[in-house]
Amino acid sequence: MSTVAETQIKLTPEHDARPSTSVRSRLQDLLPKIVLAPSFAATIVFVYGFILWTIYLSFTNSKTFPSYDITGARAYQRLWRWTFESDPPSSWYTSITNMGIFGFLYIVICLALGLFLAILLDQKIRGEGMLRPIYLYPMALSFIVTGVAWKWFLDPGLGLEQTLHQWGWTSFHFDWIKNKDFVIYTVVIAGVWQASGFVMAMFLAGLRGIDGEIMKAAQIDGATTFQLYRRIVIPLLRPVFLSAFIVLAHLAIKSYDLVVALTSGGPGGSAWLPSNFMYEFTFKRNEMAVGSASAVIMLMTITAIIVPYLYSELREKSR
């Protein structure tokens, strides 16, 4: 293919192919942009425009219905005050503390468990083809189904506790799901159950991509299995750690359904995450401005994580 053809295609396709029908060819030139335009316009309006709208609302005094008089940063001031109201905990304090606990444990346990399972599966296991889908299927379920299943499983009167009592371990006690101090950990359990298999699949794909020669060389040098993984394999998996971290952080901040289905918000809202806070304040407590402000804070948190990542990814691609 000649270079002339290349520039033609990139800039003005078909211009020279059919010089006689100029209106038609002009239309042809514009066609790609016309096709892309609706999607791009929808993104501009319904994503970026709506974000600006939400930011605007967060600076108003909106209660049940949106009001459009700017009244200053009162909603943020209230959130800021609630941030330090720990005794008794404000809903916002509970939400962000839970976010910290849930986000940290969810990400760390999923990464650790995913890596561990991937390494185990990578030891030339017979039946790997059967095990992999078993670890991964929870990712196909909705958070609502996951929540319903675990709600039953963790219910002290019906699930695990009851079962172990029947088996004779009568002193066994496990009522986290009804305990306001521990309910967030049940969300961690269900969340890890759902996502860790997927993290495993990501790590497994990463492990399969490592050059076997490096491994052989290390073995010949007398490295033990443990050393081999710690010094060579895990450092090589750094990009996978990053991708998995991004996916998990993103899932964690968006988690809303799981808390609703598993705990209905927990005793006295003790299992709330910021996403639940936003929903409740906006749609149930008629505090639209505060709800919007909390949404803006969620958005900024995700942006701080995602934008540098996307930037580096896209730049790497175009290089």
Binding site: E14, Q28, I125, F153, V247
Partner: protein
């Protein structure tokens, strides 16, 4: 990569260590398999038991006399709030929402990916980056404006209904949800197709252009016939996401007979009037889970590929 044992050790203890090693590995793998299967197993056996057996028996035991009664009840009788019409209506609501939303967002994603790779213009990276970022926003940050807009459109629909006898789908919850899912699914579908078409030989497109093929002819005759794998991946990804969505569904179709499956299931499980029938609840949960589970079982490979493509960006 292979399992590694130290070559320095004497052979016999090496073999024993290796055997022990294997037993530990298989034991751990089996244990985790149980951990992942347990909730599904409990859900399934509970849905096949009678209430008597649930109250007196063990959660993990197999049903003595499996009964499909709870499934039938969940499908056609179970109460969500005060309405007791079963899950079937909500199931169809979900289908009616998922099918158009998946088809439209996939088609638009394919066209966008085609333009962004084969018909590049100045600023194409920025356009793509802006659409890509939209995948990651917490939907809470657009929830309220969208509710306001959908509300106004609904009122406009009533006006139209009065004036012309037809509301053009405005204010219809299913139409609303299709619209919302298409708009907020575009980022992902565009991403999938863009990355796929990036690797597609541009020479073929060029050759077709030289032969005088138009923009749409190239798309229909050259791109689409070669896109089957990525179409499958995208359709599965979108199907799973939209079927499982709860946030949009509860915000824009949160009550009445317009609820999709996920919202209805949540309501059923939290309906506390009368005796709670756990077996029926579990059957309802199974019904909600089945479509995506079937897709996963039938096309698991593509499902994983979609997740991966959604995870490893750029």
């Amino acid at each position: 990569m292979s399992a590694v044992t130290s070559p320095a050790r004497p052979a016999s203890s090496g073999v024993r260590a290796r055997t022990l090693n294997r037993i530990v590995i298989y034991g751990l793998l089996a244990l985790f398999a149980i951990f992942y299967l347990m909730p599904l197993f409990v859900m399934l056996v509970t849905s096949l038991k009678t209430m008597d057996e649930i109250q007196n028996g063990n959660m993990l035991s197999l049903p003595h006399a499996p009964t499909f009664e709870p499934w039938i009840k969940a499908w056609s009788e179970v109460c969500s709030g005060l309405t007791c019409v079963g899950m079937k209506g909500y199931f169809w609501n979900s289908i009616k929402m998922v099918v158009p939303a998946v088809l439209i967002s996939t088609l638009l994603g394919a066209l966008n990916g085609y333009v962004l790779t084969k018909w590049r213009f100045r600023g194409h990276t920025l356009v793509f980056a802006m659409m890509l970022f939209a995948c990651f926003i917490p939907f809470q940050s657009v929830l309220l404006p969208m509710a306001t807009i959908l509300g106004s459109l609904g009122r406009f629909g009533v006006t139209l209904q009065n004036a012309t006898g037809f509301n053009f789908g405005l204010g219809n919850s299913t139409v609303n949800l299709v619209f919302v899912h298409v708009v907020y699914g575009l980022g992902f579908t565009t991403l999938f197709f863009r990355n796929y078409y990036e690797a597609f030989p541009t020479e073929l497109v060029k050759a077709a252009q030289v032969d005088g093929a138009s923009f749409f002819q190239i798309f229909r005759r050259i791109m689409l016939p070669n896109s089957l794998p990525i179409i499958v991946v995208t359709v599965i990804y979108q199907f799973t996401n939209i079927w499982n969505d709860f946030l949009f569904a509860s915000a824009y179709a949160g009550s009445g007979d317009v609820m999709p499956m996920t919202v209805a299931l949540n309501n059923v499980v939290n309906t506390s009037t009368g005796v709670v029938e756990y077996n029926v609840n579990m059957a309802a949960a199974m019904i909600a889970a089945l479509p995506t589970l079937i897709v996963y079982v039938v096309a698991g490979r593509y499902f994983v590929r979609g997740l991966m493509a959604g995870a490893v960006k750029g």
